[in-house]
């Protein structure tokens, strides 16, 4: 599967896929899924910003993959693509994976040597 962190302006901060073949296709998948993320964020509007659920759930189904989204309060977007056949990953697992990812991202942001907006190049964010 693949994970991606994208900024407010929708460019990728961090993108990694396991396995590494056919990467380009996954990159396209992540990129196109941002349409749905954008739309969901727009639909949420300004209401209830504080109590907002960060996890956006399943973004859209494709035949072979499931694409999940997550957006932080500062509009940093996380997207995860997993194999549809992987039934072991329930909504709750995905949610907790996102939460871990978010924590790792927060750690990166806390790094005084990291310049916000740069692509994240340091050790891979763990899941």
């Amino acid at each position: 599967y693949l994970q991606c962190v994208s900024d407010l302006a929708n460019y990728p901060l961090y993108i990694r896929s396991i396995p590494t073949e056919n990467q380009l296709k996954f990159h396209y998948t992540v990129h196109t899924s941002l349409d749905v993320v954008d739309e969901k964020i727009a639909a949420m509007g300004k209401a209830l910003v504080d109590q907002r659920e960060l996890y956006l759930g399943l973004l859209y189904p494709t035949e072979d993959y499931k694409v999940y989204g997550y957006v932080t309060n500062s509009k940093v977007k996380f997207v995860m693509v997993v194999d549809s056949s992987n039934t072991a990953l329930r909504d709750n697992e995905i949610r907790s994976m996102f939460r871990k990812l978010h924590n790792s991202y927060t750690d990166v942001m806390c790094n005084p040597f990291y310049n916000p907006g740069d692509t994240i190049q340091s050790r891979p964010l763990c899941v």
Partner: protein, 1143 residues
């Protein structure tokens, strides 16, 4: 095997409608029949009953009905569904046959006609033998029928006719019409038609109902082992008949059952296609009905189930492309159904819209292409098998989804392996002829259209990339390039560089294969740039190719290109090379990320005109090898400077390849190169902005091929904006670089600078004594001193009210250099460009400026001194215009407060003035100025009719007084207004003119005159005047003679009552009470002798007068003119005589 093999048959996709045939109508020659037919078939809108009509001759042969099987015991079905079945029941076997016959109830030859009609019905019955098709008769009648029950002949004959034709009464209809009114026919038949149609519809429904019953009745004879296929077939038939019956709910139910039964069939490689085909058909019907029932979620769920069930049913591996084609068709058909439902009013959402299905269809089409590419890649020498195994005796298959070469064989064992092989080969060869790209592109473009609608711009871009790539595979490079170029900027702005690079790589291939020079260069530039994610070796290859192109040579082919197309491309490139001209390309690099970065920077945001303008152009290359350029030039908003900012170097073409890092014109990868330019600004540009409008970097040379990289403004490209933001945000310390190298990120673009005038070396000082006084000639001393080293010339002074203030101030402010005379309205508020002589170094000049302000308030004054001086910059002689300006704010105030009063002779304030009664005019000036004022003269100017003392003098009253702050000066006049000035509206008596100046002003400054208008006088006439003549003082016990004069001012005789009220301090002699008359204009004198009794200021006896004619006229008014008190001296011992004399 046509490409439409995968398309669903038309009869499956249409909406099934009851099939009714009309016979006995001659629509060609009979106008009435024509009208009847038109009424049935024209205007078939949705609100009409769903029937499909067909006109057939009465003796039409309907499809023969096979003899019904009584037992299924030995029957083994050969397939699931016959290919002709649906069409048969839609278009061939009617539910109802209607026989039209012209017959009136009162027909003379009734018997003959009746039997002819019966014969016709019989013929129809004959051809429908074995079927349950209903027959109905419609009599076309010329006469309007009477109401039912009234026409006895009619009911009698109707019964007879029914009997003859073996019809039930329900199947006989009458369609009346009248010959002479065609309009009526149609209208009438329209009403009739609806009734008829509904009746036909009922008959048809009954027919389909019996058909359903008939099919259901077979069920009990079937067994699960041999008749599995029949279960599906029958279920499908029931569902289809239900649909014909318009019973969609039941139809859906039956289709669902049929669908489940299909999947229960034993499947094997040999019958997989048949099962999938049927499953696809039934699924299509289910989804269609679900959408029709407005339950789209059911449709989607069914489709998902269908796909999940069938996804893995690939069938024969050698024909796996068929599975992909089938899958693609499933998705496409669902997409179409979804889209149709949306057109009927369904709303779709972003994550669930037809686009996804088209996209998936395209994906399977791509897979089909890929599989076909592998499986159908036969040697052209392999011949197409003969005889054609795909050939069937009647050109069509008997059953849907079967193989042509083994129709109806249900065994899973392949009897004839040779035949099977030939069949597969034939299928593969046919597949090889299919133009897959067209299919894929059309599916993708359907998907693009959908995603556009549902706010998925990125999905749209992604699909467009796929379309572009498909065009590339289809060798339609120009279309590919067009699409890729269109979406490229979306990925660039979103900074998805991996995707962007992949698109660029494809685009570069297209450009190479078409030998599109400009595109090739542009894409190479960007692929070499820092945003490209290509590996270094790829970049190196591209750079070498680019250099070749610049030297007018053919580049190496891009990797992974079609070999035959590469050959064609090489020829194209050779043509390009030999072609002279059109070797100059300008590339606007601002909008993408080229491999050379550029930033231009003025050293300062502004330059004085006498200093040279300096700026830097920084260049940095991101390509793997050093690159040489031939020229660097900069364009400015004022193009005259362009010539000063060019770097050019002639070099041999061979030098391009020389990877030396030497020379000014070589850009070493990763190193920032700085070019310094310097020029002298034109004096005309003082006060203007100089902007860098473009930076051009020329690669290659004009003799071979050259590319101009053009940056608008001061450089920067599509990615540099974000980089600048990141750099600004970063607080990482940058290591110091050796030498003069600078960090690229730390360079800020500064694309414009101001040219400002030379710093003036001149002093302008202002001296004055604020505040200014209103109307005064206020003096402002201007001192100009040159501090230049050389003579300055053309010195000009502009002084006065600073422009841009209240417009009223301009009217009320006058400025002059000549203080000798008081300025009038013709003098301006601002003196402009007054030439002053040239000034030697150090020379000082004083000039007074006189300002006259007509109103109070603050004003800003401007003193602006400009001059010319010759100077040289960088060895260039220029004439500089310098200027120095000073502004000063001056407050204006009134010099004095003026107070005018009218007093009676007793120095009491008067509200009214009485004609012919003298009064006093007091004018008082109180100085409000902080500076002493010299009042030179004052002059009262009264109306000529008014008597005034002291008399008007032409020179006025010379005052010659200096007033300090708050000191006041008064002037007093005695005035009498004659009777002629009586005016109820008041009277402007005149004005007082004061001539003054401030004491500090010199002799040369004239005094100004201020004119004070006197307030209005209310002069009233008096009917009776009274004057008292009495000495200035009295003395105790000495007589005091007093005379009162009464004068009648009216034209009437006045009756008066006069009484004298005694006072304690006086005794008096004279008339105490009297009544008398005074003639008009006459004066009556009354004499009294008062005898003072007490010393001091004593109250006189008061005279009371009543005018009998004028009761308002009271003595109170008169008393104002009479003294009330007198000073009484005590009795002196001596010298008393003197005082009496004086009195």
């Amino acid at each position: 095997m046509s490409p439409t093999q995968w398309d669903f048959p038309v009869e499956l996709c249409c909406r099934p409608m009851a099939f009714v045939t009309l016979t006995g109508l001659d629509v060609t020659y009979n106008a009435i029949h024509r009208a009847i037919w038109d009424a049935f078939c024209a205007n078939r809108r949705a609100d009409r009953v769903p029937i499909s009509f067909k006109v057939l001759p009465g003796d039409h042969e309907y499809p023969k009905c096979r003899t019904k099987r009584t037992s299924y015991e030995w029957y083994i079905p050969k397939g699931i569904l016959k290919t002709g079945w649906m069409n048969k029941h839609l278009n061939l076997v009617p539910a109802l046959v209607v026989v039209f016959y012209e017959l009136d109830w009162d027909e003379g030859q009734w018997k003959e006609k009746q039997s002819e009609c019966a014969t016709r019905v019989e013929i129809v019955r004959q051809s429908l033998q074995g079927r349950n098709t209903k027959v109905a008769v419609v009599l076309i009648q010329k006469k309007t029928p009477l109401p039912p029950g009234e026409d006895m002949i009619a009911s009698e004959r109707a019964a007879a006719l029914c009997n003859a034709c073996d019809l039930s009464g329900k199947s006989l209809f009458v369609l009346p019409h009248t010959d002479h009114l065609v309009g009526y026919i149609i209208r009438c038949s329209d009403q009739q038609r609806i009734r008829l149609e509904n009746a036909f519809y009922e008959h048809a429904q009954t027919y389909y109902y019996t058909e359903i019953r008939r099919v259901k009745s077979h069920k009990e004879f079937l067994n699960k082992t041999t008749h599995q296929l029949l279960f599906v077939r029958h279920q499908f038939k029931i569902a289809f008949f239900s649909e014909l019956k318009q019973d969609t709910q039941n139809s859906l139910k039956n289709y669902r059952t049929a669908y489940n039964l299909v999947h229960e069939l034993r499947s094997h490689e040999t019958n997989m296609l048949e099962i999938k085909t049927m499953a696809g058909f039934i699924n299509y019907k289910i989804c269609r009905l679900c959408f029709q029932h407005n339950t789209p979620l059911d449709a989607i769920a069914q489709f998902r189930k269908h796909i999940d069930l069938c996804k893995k049913k690939i069938g024969s591996a050698e024909l796996s492309f068929e599975h992909a084609a089938w899958m693609s068709k499933q998705f496409q058909a669902f997409g179409d159904l979804f889209d149709d439902a949306i057109k009927m009013g369904l709303t779709a959402i972003q994550t669930q819209n037809p686009g996804f299905y088209y996209q998936q269809a395209a994906y399977y089409a791509q897979e089909r292409k890929q599989l076909a590419g592998v499986l159908c890649n036969h040697d052209p020498a392999v011949p197409y098998p003969s005889p054609d195994p795909l050939e069937t005796p009647n050109g069509v298959l008997d059953f849907y989804g079967q193989r042509a070469w083994r129709q109806g064989i249900l065994s899973f064992d392949l009897a004839d392996l040779e035949k099977e092989k030939a069949g597969i080969l034939a299928l593969q060869q046919k597949e090889g002829e299919v133009v897959h790209s067209e299919l894929i592109i059309s599916l993708l473009s359907s998907a693009v259209a959908q995603f556009k609608k549902y706010k998925c711009p990125r999905m749209k871009s992604h699909l467009m990339v796929q379309m572009g790539e498909e065009y590339y595979y289809a060798k339609d490079y120009s279309k590919a390039l067009k699409l890729l170029d269109y979406v490229m900027c979306d990925y660039r702005t979103e900074r998805w560089w991996t995707l962007h690079t992949s698109i660029l790589t494809t685009a570069l291939k297209c450009a190479y294969l078409m030998a599109q020079l400009k595109d090739y260069i542009t894409y190479s530039l960007e692929l070499l740039g820092r945003a490209s994610t290509l590996k270094e070796d790829q970049k190196s290859r591209i750079e070498k190719n680019l250099i070749k192109v610049l030297m007018n040579e053919s580049p190496e082919a891009e990797p992974d290109c079609d070999v035959s197309m590469v050959k064609a491309a090489q020829r194209l490139w050779t043509d390009r090379v030999s072609l002279a001209g059109s070797n100059l390309f300008t590339v606007e690099v601002q909008d993408f990320v080229p491999f050379v970065q550029c930033k231009a920077k003025f050293m300062s945001p502004s330059f004085h005109v006498d200093t040279p303008v300096e700026f830097y152009v920084y260049l940095k290359a991101d390509c793997p090898h050093p690159v040489r350029f031939s020229k660097l030039c900069v364009g400015f908003s004022n193009q005259e400077y362009n010539q000063f900012c060019v770097v050019e170097e002639q070099y041999q073409t061979s030098d391009v390849l020389e990877h030396s890092a030497q020379g000014t014109m070589c850009l070493v990868p990763g190193k920032t190169r700085k070019f310094t330019f310097k020029f002298v600004a034109k004096t005309e540009d003082v006060g203007k902005k100089i902007e860098i409008t473009s930076v051009d970097l020329i690669l290659g040379s004009e003799t071979t091929r050259c590319v101009i990289l053009n940056w608008r403004g001061g450089g920067g490209d599509a990615a540099s904006g974000h980089e600048a933001v990141q750099a600004a945000r970063s607080f990482r310390r940058r290591p110091k670089l050796p030498g003069n190298d600078v960090h690229w990120d730390s360079i800020m673009i500064q694309a414009s600078t101001m040219i400002i005038s030379r710093v003036p070396k001149i002093s302008v000082q202002l001296r004055h004594e604020p505040p200014a006084l209103c109307n005064e000639m206020y003096r402002l001393m201007i001192s100009i001193q040159s501090q230049e080293d050389t003579v300055i010339r053309d010195v000009k002074l502009t002084a006065g009210l600073k422009p841009g203030q209240d417009a009223n101030l301009t009217q009320k402010t006058l400025v002059t250099l000549h203080g000798g005379e008081v300025c009038d309205d013709s003098t301006p508020a601002l003196l402009t460009d007054i030439p002053i002589k040239g000034l030697q170094p150090g020379e000082k000049l004083d000039m007074p400026l006189f300002i006259r302000c007509g109103t109070v308030g603050p004003r800003v004054f401007l003193v602006y001194v400009s001059y010319l001086i010759d100077t040289s910059v960088e060895g260039k002689e220029i004439v500089c215009k310098c200027h120095r300006d000073e502004t000063v704010s001056i407050e204006t105030m009134y010099p004095f407060i003026v107070n005018v009063e009218f007093n009676s002779m007793k120095l009491e304030r008067l509200d009214h003035i009485y004609a012919d009664v003298p009064f006093l005019l007091l004018v008082e000036f109180r100085s409000a100025s902080p500076w002493p004022l010299s009042l030179e003269s004052g002059k009262l100017q009264m109306l000529p009719s008014i008597y005034c003392l002291p008399k008007d003098e032409s020179e006025g009253n010379r005052l010659g007084v200096v007033l300090k702050t708050t000191e006041a000066l008064g002037d007093i006049f005695c005035v009498r207004c004659p009777q002629s000035t009586v005016n109820p509206n008041g009277l402007a008596p005149g004005s007082y003119t004061l001539s003054w100046k401030r004491s500090s002003a010199g002799e040369d400054v004239p005094a100004v005159t201020s004119v004070i208008s006197l307030p209005h006088l209310m002069v009233e006439g008096l009917p009776l005047h009274i004057r008292a003549a009495l000495p200035p003082f009295g003395r105790v016990r000495e007589p005091l003679p007093v005379r009162y004069c009464l004068e009648n001012k009216t034209n009437l005789v006045q009756d008066l009552e006069i009484s004298m009220e005694p006072s304690d301090a006086f005794m008096f002699s004279g008339l105490k009470q009297i009544r008398l008359q005074i003639l008009p204009g006459a004066v009556h004198k009354m004499l009294y002798n008062y005898y003072p009794l007490m010393a001091g200021y004593q109250l006189l006896p008061s005279l009371n007068i009543n005018l009998l004619r004028i009761p308002d006229y009271t003595s109170d008014l008169l008393k104002r003119f009479l003294p009330t008190h007198i000073f009484v001296k005590p009795q002196g011992r001596q010298g008393g005589e003197d005082s009496i004399d004086a009195a």
